[in-house]
């Protein structure tokens, strides 16, 4: 079966972001961009399925500006076979991304779609669940372990109280959690090979998808700053402060 993985281009998780002075968003010019870390986990899981003979082909999907090709190339260097970029400079919200992915799923007919549980920029945690809904498929969210066999997937999920096991019918959408696997680094020969792998570029219009944002961003601001505290020398001093100054114990 084919496996489709989503790879979103986001500001690297190590970057300390800055809110734009005009409060319209976050500064993205000259900032290091990377693949969303949860999507690296998605790509890795698909590659392991291919290595086990469960996946025949891995397609890396991204939606966004032309530079998303770099993100797709990273997935190809890790081991994905080809890429699909839905190219647009417009703002994309999760529902629109899910609709674009659905259009590509309808065309490619994968048996499994793996996406990240959350993109670390917008922190929505929506796209995978929305895609599953639009396709009428089952969803294995926050996956800690995935086992695919005989038209079903057993998914161990990270939930509030610990772990939960479910069994879902394929085709399905999986969203990755942090402990699903440890993504590999691309080797130099594989980075070279990836340059020759094909990336198909599509326009949202050609897929017949309306991507107009549903949420209007009125403003983006800095969070309130905590006032800086003090260092204490001894445990006795700490206990005294907690009791008599903060009043919390």
């Amino acid at each position: 079966m084919k496996v489709l993985v989503a790879v979103k281009r986001v500001i690297d998780y190590n970057v300390k972001i800055r809110v734009k002075a005009d409060n319209t968003g976050v500064e993205t010019a000259n900032v290091k961009m990377s693949m969303n870390p949860f999507d690296e986990i998605a790509v890795e899981e698909a590659i392991r399925m291919k290595e086990k003979g469960q996946a025949t082909e891995i397609i890396a999907f991204s939606a966004g500006p032309a530079q998303c090709q770099e993100t797709i190339r990273t997935a190809l260097a890790m081991g994905a076979d080809r890429g699909v970029l839905v190219q647009t400079d417009a703002e994309l919200q999760p529902l629109a991304v899910a609709k674009l992915m659905k259009a590509v799923v309808d065309k490619e007919q994968p048996g499994l779609v793996i996406v990240g549980k959350q993109a670390i920029d917008d922190d929505s945690n929506q796209t995978g669940q929305m895609l599953a809904a639009l396709l009428g498929w089952s969803q294995g969210t926050f996956a800690n372990k995935l086992h695919v066999a005989d038209g079903t997937a057993e998914v161990k999920r990270e939930v509030d109280g610990g772990l939960e096991n479910i069994k879902i019918k394929l085709p399905a959408v999986i969203t990755t959690d942090l402990r699903l696997n440890e993504p590999r680094y691309a080797s130099l020969p594989n980075i070279m090979k990836a340059k020759k792998k094909p990336i198909e570029v599509l326009a949202p219009d050609a897929l017949g998808v309306d991507i107009a944002p549903r949420l209007k961003v009125l403003k983006v601001e800095e969070p309130p700053k905590r006032k800086s505290g003090i260092k204490v020398k001894t445990v006795a001093e700490l206990v005294d402060k907690l009791k008599n100054e903060a009043g919390v114990i």
Partner: protein
């Protein structure tokens, strides 16, 4: 129009964060209804009816709802949604799983993890691990909103709303529940604890977390951890505090052997008082700590445990 809060529960009581969701919902519309979907969830429905500010509880009984599979619960919410201006869920692992599925089926957007209701159609939500706050406005007719419980006061109990029995929508057959491996703990639940003791990679082993347990037990505290401590297998996944784990805002948060990466700060920086214990005086955690103490945790923690009075 009324607002529908979809409650997670264990069959006996609704989760404590439902009371926070009711407070948020009452800021969005004129009347708050709570949906309790389950199999034999009558007791849980009663606990929802006791939350002040709830005008009506809908108790939907169906074997298909026993384990909260999104594939089966979402169609019920979709069926009820047209009667409401908003559907609200707490942004916990149940809400995060179900709400987006409901939104997509209704062809509407979702506002994730709202921390403030500016107006019935306008919400503030953190983005980039809480390093920016976005104010977003939705034009959708039915608004799907998950709320961050720590930012809304829990509604009091003492209410007595009527409970209406409604039918279920059956099982779709897409998914089935196999079982759970839940962490057993007598300690207060992390997200509602008044005090949280959290450990990081500095603890160096799962065995050493016993030291934190002793401190937590003396303080009546919940126990948390950094991602690094969870990844290393010191503690289970549900201990993780942070951008991609749980968000806590207790009166007192004690970070022990945690460096203070932005992803960790995202989950605890709204705590009232923060204490940091770390041997590296340059550790970023000290930038958000009200009280920092530089030194070896293996020395400081037992000393602290001995010095505090048992609660």
């Amino acid at each position: 129009m009324a607002v529908l809060v979809v409650a997670a529960h264990d069959g006996k009581t609704v989760r404590s964060n439902v009371a926070n969701a009711v407070t948020a919902a009452s800021q969005m519309g004129s009347e708050v209804h709570v949906l309790v979907a389950g199999s034999n969830a009558g007791e849980a429905a009663k606990s929802a009816a006791a939350i002040q500010g709830v005008a009506k509880v809908l108790d939907a009984e169906d074997a298909a709802y026993a384990n909260w599979l999104a594939e089966d619960v979402a169609p019920l919410v979709v069926k009820l949604a047209p009667n409401y201006s908003h559907v609200v869920m707490a942004a916990d692992s149940v809400g995060k799983n179900i709400a987006p599925r409901v939104a997509a089926l209704l062809d509407v957007a979702q506002v994730s993890e709202a921390i403030k209701v500016e107006a019935p159609d306008t919400f503030v939500r953190p983005i980039y691990a809480g390093n920016a706050m976005a104010t977003v406005q939705t034009a959708d007719k039915i608004k799907i909103v998950t709320i961050r419980p720590t930012n809304f006061k829990a509604a009091a109990t003492g209410g007595s709303a009527p409970i209406e029995q409604i039918g279920g929508t059956g099982a779709g057959g897409l998914a089935s529940y196999v079982g759970a491996e839940l962490s057993k703990s007598e300690r207060p639940e992390l997200t509602s604890a008044k005090i949280v003791v959290s450990g990081g990679r500095g603890l160096a082993s799962g065995e050493n977390f016993k030291m934190l347990e002793a401190l937590a037990d003396k303080l009546g505290a919940g126990l948390g951890a950094s991602r690094a401590a969870v990844d290393a297998g010191y503690v289970p996944n549900d201990y993780q505090v942070g951008q991609t784990g749980k968000v806590v805002a207790p009166d007192l948060y004690i970070a022990i052997g945690i460096s203070g990466a932005i992803q960790h700060l995202a989950g605890m920086k709204d705590s009232k008082t923060i204490v940091a214990i770390n041997k590296d005086e340059e550790a970023p955690i000290f930038q958000v700590a009200d009280y920092g103490i530089v030194g070896d945790l293996f020395q400081i923690v037992p000393e602290l445990t001995a010095a505090v009075e048992k609660k």
